[in-house]
C-alpha cells in the first residue's frame, strides 16, 4: 500500500563499507568500518566485517552482507576440515583459491568483495578478491565504497617495512578517511593484527562517532493523571441459560 504512495522498499542489506589491508614487516594488519546499510538507512551501526577463516587467516568483506558472511563461513569450514586432514596450519593461498573458485562458479552473482590477509609458514600475505573471482596480490589494498578515500591515504603514506604500530596507525587513518568521507561507511574502526603465531582482534579499536547528548537522568512523567469520573458499560448483556428439566441432548 505504501509503495503506491511512492515509498520504495529498502534493498537487501549491503555493507557499503571501507575495508583495507596492509603488509607490515612481519605481520598483516586488516581494518574495517562498522556500518551496514539498507539503501540509505543505516541498518547496523556496529556490525563485524572482519571474518575468521582460520586461526592465522582473516577476511574483511564488502558487498552484500549475507553473501560475505555465507561465503566466508563456508570456506572457513572447508579449511578446518583440511587442517584436521593434513595436520598442518592453513595457508593463505588455500583460502584464496577456495574463495575465488567459489565466486567464479557463481559468475559474480555472489556479491562479495573481500580483502584476505594472513600469516602462514610461507610468510605474510595480502590479497583482494572481486565478486567475479579475480584476485590481486598487493602490499596494501582497499575495497568497498570507501576504497578511494582509503587508498588516497595509503598512496601518500605507505612505506615498505612498516612496524606493527605504524601499520595499525596507517590502517586506522585510512578507515577514518572512509568513515568521514564516504556515506556508505561510518561508525567505528575494527582492526586485526596477524603475526606469526598470534592474532589480535581489536574490535572497536577507535570509536570516533559516539552518541552525544544522551540524558543520564532518563525520563520520568512527574504528574499523575487525576480520575474525575468513572462509568462502566458492559459490552454484552449477561444471559443466564437455565436447564428446564428435560433430557440431555441426543447424540
Amino acid at each position: 500500500m505504501l509503495t503506491k504512495k511512492g515509498l520504495k522498499p529498502p534493498g537487501y542489506l549491503k555493507t557499503g563499507t571501507t575495508i583495507v589491508g596492509v603488509v607490515c614487516k612481519d605481520c598483516v594488519v586488516l581494518g574495517a568500518d562498522t556500518r551496514a546499510t539498507a539503501g540509505s538507512i543505516v541498518a547496523d551501526k556496529n556490525c563485524e566485517k572482519i571474518h575468521n577463516m582460520a586461526p592465522n587467516i582473516l577476511c574483511c568483506g564488502a558487498g552484500t552482507a549475507a553473501d560475505t558472511e555465507a561465503v566466508t563461513d563456508n570456506i572457513s569450514s572447508q579449511l578446518k576440515l583440511h587442517r584436521y586432514h593434513t595436520g598442518r596450519e592453513s595457508r593463505v593461498v588455500t583460502a584464496l583459491t577456495l574463495l575465488k573458485s567459489h565466486l567464479f562458479r557463481y559468475q559474480g552473482h555472489v556479491s562479495a568483495a573481500l580483502v584476505l590477509g594472513g600469516v602462514d609458514v610461507t610468510g605474510p600475505h595480502l590479497h583482494t578478491i572481486y565478486p567475479h573471482g579475480s584476485t590481486d596480490t598487493l602490499p596494501f589494498a582497499t575495497m568497498g565504497s570507501g576504497s578511494l578515500a582509503a587508498m588516497a591515504i595509503f598512496e601518500s603514506e605507505y612505506r615498505e617495512g612498516l612496524t606493527r604500530d605504524e601499520g595499525v596507525n596507517l590502517v586506522t587513518k585510512a578507515i577514518c578517511s572512509g568513515i568521514f568521507n564516504d556515506l556508505g561507511s561510518g561508525s567505528n574502526v575494527d582492526i586485526c593484527v596477524i603475526e606469526k603465531g598470534k592474532t589480535e582482534y581489536l574490535r572497536n579499536h577507535l570509536t570516533p562517532n559516539p552518541r552525544t547528548y544522551i540524558s543520564s537522568k532518563g525520563y520520568t512523567f512527574s504528574k499523575k493523571t487525576e480520575v474525575l469520573h468513572t462509568k462502566i458499560t458492559p459490552l454484552k448483556e449477561l444471559v443466564d441459560v437455565v436447564q428446564v428439566g428435560g433430557d440431555a441432548m441426543e447424540e
Binding site: 563461513d73 563456508n74 569450514s77 578446518k80 576440515l81 584436521y84 586432514h85
Partner: protein, 214 residues
C-alpha cells in the same frame, strides 16, 4: 588382524571449589617393526576441538570413519552454529557403520571406536562397534587383554578421581598387558578436561607421567 590394547578411563574429579571433569583415552602403539618411524603413526585423532577418538582394529577403516565423522561434525556446526554434541556425533558415526552391515557389496568396518568428548552434558565416553551399536562408559577397555584390563579398571576406577590419577590408572592398565618396555614412544594418551579442548600428549609429557608411575 592385529588387535591393540586400549584402556579408557572416564573420570570425575571433584575439587573443593570447582567440579571439573574430564576423559582420558590411551592406547599402545604396536608397530609392525622397529624400523617403522613411530612419529608417523597416530592412533588417537581429533574429530572436533572438544571430541577425540581412538580405535581398535584396522587402521585404514578407522581413517575412513574419522574423515566422515569430521565432515558430519562440521556440517552440523554450519547448520546449527553450535558444536556438535558428543551423542549426536556418535549416533551419526554409528549410523554409517550400520549402513555397511546392510548394504550390498560392502563389508562392515573392522574397527571399534572409543569416542571421548566434553560438551554441555559434561565429559562423555562412548564405544561404537562394527555393528553400529554404541554404549556409554565410565571406564572401558578394548582389544587384546580386554578382560584383564576391565577387571583392573573395575578395581581402580572411582567416581572422584583426579586427572593425574586417571592418567596413571590408564598407564598402569596398559602396562598390565604390555609386551616389552613401555615408553613415551610406544603409547599414546589423549586428554580432555573442563577447558573442552581435546589434546594428545607429547612423548615427553608421557615420559614424565611414566616416571611418576614408576
Amino acid at each position: 588382524m592385529p588387535s591393540q590394547l586400549l584402556a579408557l578411563v572416564k573420570l570425575h574429579w571433584g575439587l573443593k571449589s570447582i567440579t571439573s571433569n574430564g576423559v582420558v583415552i590411551a592406547t599402545e602403539k604396536k608397530l609392525p617393526s622397529i624400523l617403522v618411524d613411530e612419529t608417523s603413526v597416530q592412533k588417537i585423532q581429533i574429530l572436533t576441538p572438544n571430541i577425540g577418538v581412538v580405535y581398535s582394529g584396522m587402521g585404514p577403516d578407522s581413517r575412513v570413519l574419522v574423515r566422515k565423522s569430521r565432515k558430519q561434525a562440521e556440517q552440523y556446526n554450519l547448520l546449527y552454529k553450535e558444536p556438535i554434541p558428543v551423542t549426536q556425533l556418535v549416533r551419526e558415526t554409528a549410523a554409517v557403520m550400520q549402513e555397511f552391515t546392510q548394504s550390498g557389496g560392502v563389508r562392515p568396518f573392522g574397527v571399534s571406536l572409543l569416542v571421548a568428548g566434553y560438551d554441555d552434558k559434561g565429559p562423555q565416553l562412548y564405544q561404537v562397534d562394527p555393528s553400529g551399536s554404541y554404549f556409554s562408559w565410565k571406564a572401558s577397555a578394548m582389544g587384546k587383554n580386554v578382560s584383564n584390563a576391565k577387571t583392573f579398571l573395575e578395581k581402580r576406577y572411582t567416581d572422584d578421581m583426579e586427572l593425574e590419577d586417571a592418567i596413571h590408572t590408564a598407564i598402569l592398565t596398559l602396562k598390565e598387558g604390555f609386551e616389552g618396555q613401555i615408553s613415551g614412544k610406544n603409547i599414546e594418551i589423549g586428554v580432555i578436561e573442563a577447558d573442552r579442548t581435546f589434546r594428545v600428549l607429547t612423548a615427553a609429557q608421557i615420559e614424565d607421567y611414566l616416571q611418576e608411575v614408576e
